[in-house]
Amino acid sequence: MDKNKPGLFKLVEGLKPVDASALEEYEREMTDEAIPEIIKDVEKRRMLAAESRQRRLETPTTDKPETPTTDEPEQSK
């Protein structure tokens, strides 16, 4: 911590310290459940992204009409 910085309580007037006991349940659940779960979720989503990378977005050009044939726009890819 930079000792020359004013600190939170000087920066923001009217602040009071938080009762540490009010944070215990939050801290325990973050440590035991949330943070491991978040890391797992991020890794799982990264794996899904890796699988999706090689999927192609295309159809053969021969399937496409030379000119539009109906009032509805053609389904080009």
């Binding site: 600190g7 923001v12 007037e13 973050m30 949330a34 779960e37 979720d41 999706s52 295309e58 890819k77």
Partner: protein
């Protein structure tokens, strides 16, 4: 070179066929416009011999090399309301109130390619039939006949089919939006996009064989953004986290490159509309995705801002199985975290009074520190002066995640009970990635001056004066509300 067309009704659009050569397919264009544009469009200025930078990029690199001869010039259509007139002899546009830009709805370039001729276009969502309520837009400058006009819209074009497909058109749309919206990004033309996707010049028809998602990712990387691919778990029909993330990024003002692999199709997601608020009274936390009625997409098969339902029908958001969000560099805390983090936030309810978790509607999105401060300043009567001072003084990093917590009745009137302001540069392993968590009576303020958070000196609680309101305003500043005309 310039022709003015007055429209009494959409049927008059068929006149385009009399004024524009066949290689621009005016009949087909007129049919699309008649279906997609509102009756507020009462005048069209046809500008011939227009040199379009995007068409020229493909002309120089492809069409000019063909045996069949293609023209090098385009036609540009400009759309106006009923108060605008054109003096043919003086070549002058006039609006009754003198403010031409206020009566301008945008432009559409037509390419001389005989098929899929709609090129670079920027049209306001205000005149698009059925457009969603919130759309990502940028200001685009348009120069015509010595006038400089301004239009708020999202760029769109048809794919070229033979040298570019939907995925190229979608990358182009998003990157053109970025170059207009953010000064740090340069402009890329249609052919540039084709080149960015490959490690070598693909030449000829190769680009028409389509793109893999990794190539679209490469386009965004090469363009200087930091793309993140988010893919749905295909085996899990209840992968709601995917759609919550999709909603969060769109709500942050980032257009998404969305892929529908079952259709082999790509398009940009650029907005949304809420469903009519429901007073269900049912228990269970909901997310903003649950309140989405439609997504607005820029799909090269249609005029821009097509509304597709969140679910149901042959074409809906449920067809999207992956998307790319082209983020700025300094967004490290991922959207993946919020499904787990948000329920834990309610454990801080012992310090900051929050609504009951099972009756809360959660919305989360990214904004900048300066945009958040601007929002607070413009709603300062809602905030306790000490909280307002904290917002102004805390040394925010450039980007913030905002989590808004509302009850069902507050959601219906665009209000919230509480808000968490989260450091977008926070690490995944932080217990307190917050700057602020505030309700109506208390606010927790976090100092982030030290890596090792000191609970006694690095965090404090403010007890706030009663500002006499029922809830805070929802922060709806990233997307432009559509003003239907």
């Amino acid at each position: 070179m310039y022709t003015w067309m007055t429209l009494a009704s959409a049927a008059d659009l068929s006149q385009l066929d009399h004024h524009i050569d066949a290689e621009y397919t005016p009949k087909s264009v007129a049919k699309k416009l008649a279906v997609g544009l509102s009756d507020a469009v009462k005048g069209i200025l046809i500008e011939r011999n227009y040199i379009d930078k995007d068409y020229r990029s493909t002309y120089y690199n492809f069409y000019a090399k063909k045996g069949r001869q293609y023209r090098s010039d385009c036609v540009r259509l400009h759309f106006f309301d009923e108060t605008v007139s054109f003096d043919d002899s003086a070549l002058k546009l006039s609006a009754k109130d003198g403010h031409l830009s206020d009566h301008y709805f945008g432009f559409m370039v037509l390419r001389p390619t005989g098929v899929a001729t709609i090129g670079r276009s920027v049209v306001t969502p205000d005149v698009r039939r059925g457009a969603s309520r919130f759309i990502i837009t940028a200001d685009h400058k348009v120069h015509v006949l010595g006038h400089t006009l301004k239009i708020h819209g999202f760029p769109s074009m048809d794919q070229h089919i033979d040298i570019a497909v939907c995925a190229h058109a979608t990358c182009w749309s998003i990157l053109r939006h970025y170059s207009e919206r953010y000064s740090i990004y340069r402009e890329y033309h249609t052919h540039d996009i084709t080149m960015l996707a490959q490690q070598f010049d693909p030449g000829g028809f190769v680009p028409a064989r389509g793109l893999a998602l990794s190539q679209a990712e490469r386009v965004f990387q090469e363009a200087g953004t930091y793309p993140v691919i988010v893919a749905r778990d295909i085996a899990n029909l209840k992968d709601f986290s995917f759609y919550r993330q999709l909603t969060a990024y769109v709500d942050s003002g980032f257009p998404l490159f969305a892929a529908m692999h079952n259709k082999g199709h790509a398009m940009a997601v650029v907005g949304y509309d809420w469903r009519t608020p429901l007073n269900t009274g049912l228990p269970g936390m909901r997310y903003s995705w649950d309140e989405i009625k439609t997504l607005a997409v820029v799909d090269d098969n249609h005029l821009p801002y097509l509304s597709i339902p969140a679910d149901g029908g042959h074409y809906s958001a449920k067809d999207i199985d992956s998307f790319i969000v082209a983020l700025p560099e300094k967004v490290f805390y991922p959207a993946d975290a919020f499904d787990t983090l948000v329920p834990k936030l309610f454990k801080l309810g012992k310090v900051v009074q929050l609504p009951p978790q099972d009756k809360a509607i959660i919305r989360y999105f990214i904004t900048t520190g300066s945009a958040f401060r601007r929002f607070v300043r413009s709603h300062e009567s809602e905030f306790d002066p000490q909280l307002l001072a904290a917002v102004m003084k805390l040394p925010f990093a450039q980007f913030l995640w905002i989590v808004e917590i509302a009850t069902e009745s507050q959601w219906a009137i665009n209000q919230i009970s509480a808000r968490a302001v989260i450091d977008a540069t926070a690490s995944l392993t932080e217990h307190y990635p917050y700057w602020i968590l505030h309700g109506r009576k208390e606010a927790l303020i976090f100092g982030r001056e030290s890596v090792d958070l000191d609970l006694q000196n690095g965090m404090g609680v403010l007890t706030m004066a009663d500002t006499g309101h029922f809830g805070f305003s929802r922060m709806d500043t990233n997307l432009r509300p559509t003003r239907t005309k």
